[in-house]
Symmetry: C2
Subunit: 346 residues, 2 copies
């Protein structure tokens, strides 16, 4: 059988250590309980502290039909709610939810406007990468986990989107806003151009909201079966390396109850050549929702939706700034062709 490891094991808590190593275990044989002795704990599911066990009434004339269920499955909450807890974070530059099993965010939401991207009060040279102390130590990504991993600490909300204040920019440098990303050819290239595309949208829309996050997608294997497979970095291995990243873009027209131009994109965490059309990565938001287990636009009525890539030319630009603006304003080259519902990458 293959060699598996229950990773993430270093540093068992003092509590468990004490329980494990305590020398005195009083009971090695226990008296068999009387069969009529049916003490059952019924703690309140919402109470945090241990609750008192209480005997349950059982109708003695017909023991096969107890008046109340003989068990209380939610009573385990007296020892703690298992979770998952998603560690909702609200910072100046972003709002996010964290995946404690993979040590990556589930999603990170941001907001940019024509004004916010013009302000220049933050400088990334004054920011430093930090561990997010708001996440319990055992579920927190660590700086040392990224060290020599071969992956960038890839911002989900880009630092460049938070130049409007140093504090806002600093808040993008918490590891809870990071995922391991391929550096050359992705984070430092195509992905950066894609982030630039998002910022340029503020030339056309007065308010742009972007949700970014990791995906772990299945791939058809040599035996015809579908498998999800991703690297895990760190010592012990504990931070997942996503196979893909998504962005959902809500470009708002600024009117109350106005139109929202919606675009969803899924890019592989891999080298992407600059000449690859961004539209190749466009997906229906519904497909992204199924793949991620998240819901992005459930409350946005169909009547208010427009398709972003039919309003603007969805393409990354590795050109001079002046030329970028020209390309952005040209009509979309393939207007009317919907994104494929199944994305295959060549």
């Amino acid at each position: 059988m293959s060699k598996f490891t229950l990773a993430l094991v270093a540093g068992a808590s003092a509590a468990v250590g004490a329980a494990t190593t305590a020398a005195i275990y009083g009971i090695s044989k226990r008296q068999l309980p009387d069969e009529t002795h049916t003490i059952t704990a019924i703690p309140s599911p919402t109470r945090a502290s241990p609750a008192a066990p209480a005997p349950l009434p059982v109708r003695r004339d017909d023991p096969s039909h107890p008046l109340l269920p003989p068990v209380d499955p939610s009573g385990v909450f007296q020892y703690g709610f298992p979770g998952p807890i998603n560690d909702l974070r609200s910072a100046a530059s972003l709002t996010s939810a964290f995946d404690r099993a993979k040590r990556n965010p589930h999603w990170v939401a941001e907001h940019i406007t024509p004004a916010s991207v013009l302000l220049r009060n933050g400088d990334r040279r004054h920011s430093v990468f930090t561990e997010d102390d708001s996440i319990p130590e055992k579920f927190r990504g660590k700086l040392k986990d990224y060290f020599r991993s071969g992956y960038d600490r890839g911002h989900q909300v880009p630092a460049a989107d938070a130049k409007w204040s140093q504090e806002a920019m600093d808040s993008t440098f918490a590891l809870s806003n990071m995922c391991p990303q391929v550096g050359d050819g992705f984070n430092r290239d195509y992905w950066a151009h894609f982030e630039d595309f998002c910022r340029r949208l503020t030339s056309f829309y007065p308010s742009v909201r972007i949700v970014t996050g990791p995906l772990y997608l299945p791939k058809r294997d040599f035996d015809g079966k579908w498998r999800v497979s991703y690297e895990v970095i760190g010592h012990p291995p504990n931070i997942a390396v996503p196979t893909h990243f998504y962005k959902v873009i809500f470009a708002e027209d600024g009117r109350v109850g106005g139109n929202v131009s919606l675009g969803a994109f899924v890019l592989p965490n891999d080298v992407i050549h600059n000449d690859k059309p961004l539209k190749d990565f466009e997906v229906p938001v519904e497909a992204l929702e199924r793949a991620s287990g998240l819901e992005f636009a459930g409350l946005l009525p169909p009547a208010r939706r427009k398709r972003l890539c039919q309003e603007v030319n969805c393409s990354v630009i590795v050109k001079e700034y002046a030329e970028r603006q020209k390309t952005m304003m040209s009509p979309p080259p393939t207007k009317g062709s919907p994104p494929a519902t199944t994305i295959t990458q060549r």
Copy 2:
């Protein structure tokens, strides 16, 4: 580049379809906004319906220091809270949380007592496997996904633990209580013996709580890197096949604030020979918490904890019932040796 697929794509919703195919997109070029025109939507993060955009006050004498942040990252919640939503389920036989990305439960909690396991009102021949309608269609495991997958629909809370009522037993047959499990050699053999071990604990403890669930653990690959790799079944592929399963057992002494004998076990979703000692699968609960991203016993003080496998003989028994009882009551053979913090399987 390898061929990836954004799976789980069938049946894009009518809403998205409408947005995608709508023929009329009024704006292909938009007027560049005036730079002083800084309309920004500030919806309430907790409000479900779209909120009105409102202009933000910006101090005009020093535009680099706005009185308020120029952006509102949580405003995206007007389009829906992304989640993850964990679909907490409370049934007669179990309480559970569901993983919408993997279409498996995160954990399923149950409670058994000497009385509950003696009652015989439910019969699995009267129960049928059902899809869980309480989970939104696009995140729900389907009966057809398991069909010819090669895996059992493996109960997390066993049907045999809910014989005290037919309704309770029926509620264990929802697919939200299932994971794909290897049948021969695991679900129908060693795992079943392990479930029997749990039931036999009610001969020694008046109240036993068990939390069961799937794991997706990393494995050291040929290149020395650690990878999580698991199959995904269904059409399109959408239900993850766990690499391992865990059980956390809380055996209560029945006293208010009394002692709790704690045992955590992690077993591979693979053939396990019947002669493999159950104790080989014992792990510190802290290690399981790190691996799963869940917390099982955070509110249980160390002083109340005992180690289950030092109180009873933690072993599965493939023998006659009478002989089982004898073995169960014998003192543990390796008393005092704590479980390894890193589990390797041979």
